[in-house]
């Protein structure tokens, strides 16, 4: 097993080999138009050990809405896989946003959520 797959499986607790690439996650994803890789492609690249997935935009666009996971016929919780990929970077102390750039007029729940999801 490649390091990327084993790390993602460890952090997410999900079995990526359950995915058979049907694309239902990507078909229902409300944020897919903003993504560079489709959610099912993210899973495939992790399985192939392609480290470019760690630099992709998709995991950061994922808003943890769980639509993919509730519709997956193989019960793969893709939101957890996206979180695992984010954490691979965040745990190296590489933040996705600078907090000082976040607009101050947002509701607290937006600011706290962004802090938790985009900074380590």
């Amino acid at each position: 097993m490649n390091w990327l797959l084993s790390k993602v499986e460890e952090l997410s607790g999900e079995n990526l080999y359950a995915c058979y690439q049907c694309g239902k996650c990507s078909a229902g994803c409300p944020m897919v138009e903003e993504m560079d890789l489709l959610p099912n492609q993210v899973i495939l690249l992790v399985k192939l050990g392609d480290e470019s997935v760690v630099e992709a935009k998709s995991p950061w666009v994922c808003a943890q809405c769980y639509q993919c996971g509730v519709r997956c016929p193989r019960e793969v919780d893709i939101a957890k896989i996206m979180e695992a990929i984010r954490l691979i970077k965040l745990r190296k102390n590489i933040d996705h946003i600078k907090l000082e750039n976040v607009e101050k007029n947002l509701p607290q729940i937006a600011i706290v959520s962004a802090t938790r999801k985009y900074t380590g």
């Binding site: 460890e10 944020m31 903003e34 666009v61 639509q67 976040v102 509701p107 607290q108 729940i109 937006a110």
Partner: protein, 268 residues
């Protein structure tokens, strides 16, 4: 009837109108929402990593406060708080290993066993529709699109209603004398905290969701989440810059419709 009430940060600030209208509307149907004596931020979005228990402590601490106050049920109106508290509570009930670590780490707190039941006000409303109908003084009379977003419905273990086709908010609107429109995007995400990092995603989602509601004949959108409310209401200004023909729609909390139909005057 009295129930424990967890406001969360945003109901005290940006979404104060949600808190004020909810407390008044519930009082009218005989439910007193009693705010916890002490509470903290729930931590917002639930942490999904198997090893990240640290981010779940805040939610568990709030549940301990609810138990201390003697509440069997804790009402959490903000969708994000509801989702986070409910998922943390499910973990408390089902994940013995995680809870033994959390309980040991928080040795200043009593152990928590998952015995508080986290509920959303719309679940309370479901059992009170007859009382609600009886309390209506000014029937609404408009057409509404009920918007649920994600966190009241998913993951499905925490859903307040059928997760692909919920109807509780529609039943409330009809009980208040309004009519509802077909709204296929009612459970599609508004972009959530992308508003802090990638505003374009939220602008696109706003355009898609509001346009879908308008095409189906809605006069207004109804929601329960302060972040959906912000993304759907405040971001309409940004949408107009990208799509000049965009007409927009008013956005209300479901509790605002309740006080309106009950004929309750709100201060300010």
């Amino acid at each position: 009837m009295e129930m424990g009430y967890y406001p969360g940060c945003t109901l005290k600030t940006n979404a104060k109108v949600f808190e004020d209208s909810l407390l008044k509307a519930f009082e009218k149907i005989g439910i007193k929402l009693k705010e916890l004596n002490k509470w903290y931020c729930c931590g917002t979005v639930y942490s999904l990593a198997t090893d990240n228990l640290m981010y779940r402590l805040a939610a568990i601490r709030n549940l301990i406060r609810a138990k201390e106050d003697g509440h069997e049920k804790l009402v959490a109106p903000c969708s994000i708080c509801y989702n986070t508290l409910k998922q943390a509570n499910l973990m408390a009930k089902s994940d013995e290993e995680a809870m033994s670590k959390i309980n040991a780490f928080m040795d200043e707190e009593p152990d928590y066993d998952g015995s508080v039941s986290v509920i959303h006000p719309l679940e309370v409303i479901e059992a009170k529709l007859q009382e609600i109908k009886a309390a209506v003084k000014k029937p609404l009379g408009k057409k509404y699109a009920a918007y649920y977003g994600c966190l009241l419905l998913r993951p499905k273990e925490i859903a307040i209603d059928e997760h692909e086709n919920p109807s509780i908010m529609e039943r409330l609107i009809e009980a208040l004398g309004g009519s509802v429109v077909n709204f296929p995007l009612k459970n599609e995400c508004c972009g959530s905290y992308n508003v802090a990092s990638n505003k374009e995603a939220v602008i696109d989602a706003n355009y898609r969701i509001i346009t879908n509601a308008r095409r189906n004949g809605a006069d207004a959108i109804v929601t329960s989440c302060p972040l959906c409310h912000f993304n759907l209401k405040e971001m309409q200004k940004e949408v107009k810059k990208v799509h000049p023909e965009f007409a927009g729609l008013p956005v209300y909390y479901f509790s605002e419709l309740m006080v309106e139909a009950f004929g309750i005057e709100m201060e300010g």
